[in-house]
């Protein structure tokens, strides 16, 4: 993961150049090419004046793009710098992150996120102080400030609101505390910890081997804890001092984001240093991807239900890759448990978004046909005929064993309740619909959910690891399909399914001519989708007496594909730069302050047209970049 490939290094250099300018990218480039360096070597390699190298390093460290570590070497401290390329890649996610925060916390949140991204990390008190000043200033300058309000960014009205939103962002782990270890290279942190543990445990063990094992085991846990950070509800918060005057009221009004009203008033600890938590956002992006996949496979409404489900368990998931071997439980935050994150239908329906229209979204199996349901199926038929057909068949197929008894039991309940309270009956009906959708999701061959028992009308968990694999496979197949058409996909699936095969067998299974198979297989190997292994039949190696077995090596195929994508992204950015260079003078003119002030007057018609072309072209290129970025996330992060 942490290794840099040449193509990734190129991409990161281009990204840094795009965002932080040429000087920064030069330093990053040297660090990526040569590994960790001292400041002296950086100066030498970049051939920049020492002054600007130092300044640039400050910028890069502030933005977490460069990490540093001081060693004792020959009596004095020597500081080494290393580029954190994954963080450099994250520069690309800025748009996505701001957009995601906007969905959760509205304009205020988006503005905070944007500012945090710009600042790298910042102490809460400094951040608040800046706004304290800013709000005063804006009120003073209000009359002539209207020209600048081009952007729809609503001003943050008060420091109180700001605090509130920030606290919620901290709770949602969109912001995390920055610790000293975050500024150091991973390996150094690990070595330090190892040495410490060694010293601590050395006395208790007789043999070196045992000690090593123990140290390694503890190290793993500690590192994990360190990466995840403090996960308790009140992390980074402190008890609010006695509320002064009317502040409490204000708080209540603002706290629409908070689902559970707390008894004790907490406020954000102002000594905290915070930054954007990129890991958490990856979790959000993964959820969005899964929902999109569910929509493609099953249908719109089901994917909405899935979205709600994922949203509910999302607070318990801190990082994408963490939940693979061990899962964390909500109840005991500090201990790492092995319990799965489960959610029951009952809990889900409690907080289910009432906007989502579930009625008539699903067709019930004919076994329990009621006229009402039947009608809804018919009316919906035109809209999603395929989905409903599938649904119908599947549900029938599924209702066996434990689900069935439970369902019929639950059904009885509804029948009894029907004449009680229309509101309650409606709610129950809704719950039933939700359950139907959840069942659909669990039944799908992609296994969006896996069933975990019957408590609370059925409990479900999400197997992210398997889903990640599925998503990777889907994307891989899409690319193979694009390159080699259906033949390629067919061969890929056969080889995946059967393992190592020689050409003849493949052609037999695929029902294709051997020659045809051969050319496609060879090209696929060239692109890195397939691997070939030679097994000689006789001792003197001869080509015609050798078996050639084709096989699919997932990890390798993914890595090769990733590096291809990195290259494509680099080309994309370079293309944008070329397009910009072509119109350099025009763009410079449009950025001039006098032109900005009266744009209509100073720009000719053709210039405006050209500028429009440039804007739309850049937008298209950027969108393409984001699409590639999505692929990268699927292949690398999810």
């Amino acid at each position: 993961m942490s290794q840099t490939s040449a193509s990734a290094a190129e991409l990161c250099t281009l990204l840094v150049r795009d965002i932080y300018g040429e000087v920064s990218s030069k330093v990053v480039n040297v660090l990526l090419q040569r590994g960790r360096l001292t400041i002296g070597s950086i100066i030498q390699q970049t051939q920049l004046p020492p002054k600007s190298v130092k300044q640039t390093l400050v910028v890069l460290i502030q933005q977490h793009l460069v990490v540093h570590y001081s060693h004792m070497e020959g009596g004095n401290d020597v500081c080494y710098y290393e580029c954190n390329w994954e963080q450099a890649y994250e520069l690309l996610h800025a748009g996505r992150i701001i957009r995601a925060v906007e969905d959760y916390f509205g304009q205020d949140g988006a503005l905070i996120a944007s500012n945090f991204l710009q600042l790298g990390h910042v102490k809460v008190s400094d951040f608040l102080a800046a706004y304290g000043v800013s709000t005063k200033k804006t009120t003073k300058k209000a009359p002539n400030a209207d020209t600048i309000a081009i952007e729809a960014d609503a001003p943050i009205t008060s420091v109180e609101t700001l605090k509130e939103v920030m606290m919620n962002m901290l709770k949602a782990r969109f912001l995390v505390e920055v610790k000293k270890e975050d500024m150091q290279p991973q390996t150094d942190v690990e070595n330090n910890l190892r040495n410490e543990l060694r010293k601590q445990l050395a006395s208790g063990f007789s043999s070196e081997l045992k000690l090593n094992n123990e140290v390694n085991a503890k190290l793993k846990i500690k590192l994990k804890e360190m990466q995840i950070g403090d996960v308790s509800e009140t992390a980074g918060l402190k008890r609010k001092a006695a509320p002064a005057g009317g502040r409490v009221k204000k708080r209540k009004k603002v706290s629409i984001y908070d689902e559970e009203e707390e008894e004790i008033d907490y406020e954000i600890d102002e000594d905290l240093v915070l930054r954007i938590n990129h890991d958490k956002f990856l979790v959000l992006f993964r959820n969005a991807e899964l929902v999109a996949l569910a929509e493609q496979r099953i249908g719109k409404v089901t994917s909405e239900v899935y979205r709600e489900f994922l949203k509910r368990i999302e607070p318990k998931i801190f990082r994408c890759r963490d939940n693979f071997d061990e899962d964390e439980d909500d109840d005991d935050n500090d201990k790492i448990g092995v319990k799965k994150i489960k959610l029951s239908c009952l809990e889900l329906s409690k907080h289910f978004d009432p906007e989502i229209e579930l009625e008539g979204s699903i067709a019930l199996p004919p076994k329990e046909t009621k006229t009402k349901k039947k009608r809804s199926y018919d009316s919906d038929d035109e809209e999603k005929p395929r989905k409903n057909g599938k649904t119908n068949g599947k549900s029938k197929h599924d209702s066996d064993s434990e689900e069935e008894e439970e369902e019929s039991e639950a059904e009885d309940d509804w029948d009894n309740d029907a004449d009680m309270d229309p509101e309650a009956a409606k709610r129950k009906n809704r719950m039933k619909m939700i359950k139907q959708h959840l069942l659909l999701l669990a039944e799908d061959s992609f296994k969006f959910l896996s069933s975990e028992g019957n408590r609370g009308m059925g409990e479900w968990s999400v197997n992210y690891k398997e889903l990640g694999k599925t998503m990777r496979a889907v994307e891989m197949e899409k690319i193979v399909e694009e390159r080699f058409e259906s033949t390629g996909t067919r061969l890929l699936r056969i080889i995946k399914d059967k393992g190592k095969l020689d050409e003849k067998t493949i052609s037999n299974i695929a029902l294709l001519k051997q020659g045809e198979v051969r050319s496609v297989l060879a090209q696929m190997q060239e692109c890195g989708h397939l691997e070939v292994q030679e097994v000689p039949r006789a001792n003197p190696l001869q080509v015609n007496k050798t078996f050639f077995f084709w096989y699919f090596h997932e990890e390798r195929a993914n890595t090769l594909l990733l590096s291809d994508i990195y290259k494509a992204m680099s080309r994309n950015i370079q293309r944008t730069n070329v397009e910009r260079q072509k119109r350099k003078h025009l763009i410079e003119k449009s950025e001039r302050s006098d032109v900005q002030a009266n744009f209509e007057e100073y720009m000719t018609k053709s210039e405006k047209r050209e500028l429009e072309i440039w804007r739309s072209r850049e937008e298209r290129l950027l969108v393409q970049l984001m699409r590639l970025d999505r692929l990268v996330m699927i292949l690398r992060d999810f």
Partner: protein
């Protein structure tokens, strides 16, 4: 993406076991010796239309990038030589240059507070950490303009001016390049008569040396 895929497929791969031109797949396949088209027609894929969500995302990204570009951390390399070899038509000083957005050649570091502990010791001087008499680190407030675009440019300039005065005292350890005072004449305006410009250019060059020589020391 797969330009020349078919043509190069057999020749280019697997330099280990097969002689170029001879197929490794056995005798039943005749290698294709005919001349392949150098650039076979390869229609480029067309991008599917942008969704609303994507547009929103890109517009956030762009505005974010613009904010950084106008912020204190975006830096460009100073043009090395401004000699006669460059375009004589476009590279002349113009009146309108005074309206142009001037990119920074060095980041403006003292515009904000830092968490000093997070930086290595050797960079502390660069951070512009000032210590007051009693040894405490003097606090700085975040410059508002980099957070909010609500304030107008006039205000920003005003604030920078105030800061510049502060900076003047510590001018010695600050580079010449870090000053971006809008009122002062810049290098571009001074043209050929600025001897220092050439001098500092030469200063840069002194570091250059041969790459090999430098590598020898480290």
């Amino acid at each position: 993406m797969s330009r020349g895929g078919r043509g190069g497929g057999f020749g280019g791969r697997g330099g280990r076991q097969n002689i170029p031109g001879v197929s490794q797949f056995g005798d039943d396949i005749k290698p294709d010796y005919s001349v392949t088209e150098l650039f076979p027609p390869n229609p480029p894929p067309v991008q599917s239309s942008l969704t609303k969500e994507e547009r929103a995302m890109v517009s956030r990204f762009r505005s974010h990038r613009d904010k950084i570009h106008t912020g204190p951390f975006y830096t460009v390399l100073a043009p090395r030589t401004k000699g006669t070899t460059e375009d004589p038509f476009n590279n002349i000083s113009r009146y309108s240059e005074k309206y142009q957005r001037k990119p920074r050649k060095a980041p403006k570091l003292d515009s904000r507070p830092y968490v000093v502990n997070f930086f290595p010791e050797e960079l502390h001087a660069t951070l512009g950490v000032e210590k007051t008499e009693d040894g405490k680190i003097r606090k700085k407030t975040l410059v508002v303009t980099q957070l909010d675009e609500l304030l107008d440019m006039v205000d920003e300039d005003g604030m920078e001016d105030k800061e510049d005065e502060k900076e003047d005292k510590e001018e010695e350890d600050k580079g010449v390049e870090s000053e971006q005072d809008p009122d002062q004449l810049t290098d571009d305006d001074e043209g050929d008569y600025n001897a220092e410009q050439y001098f500092s250019g030469g200063d840069d060059m002194s570091d250059v040396g041969g790459d090999d020589d430098d590598a020898g020391f480290y």
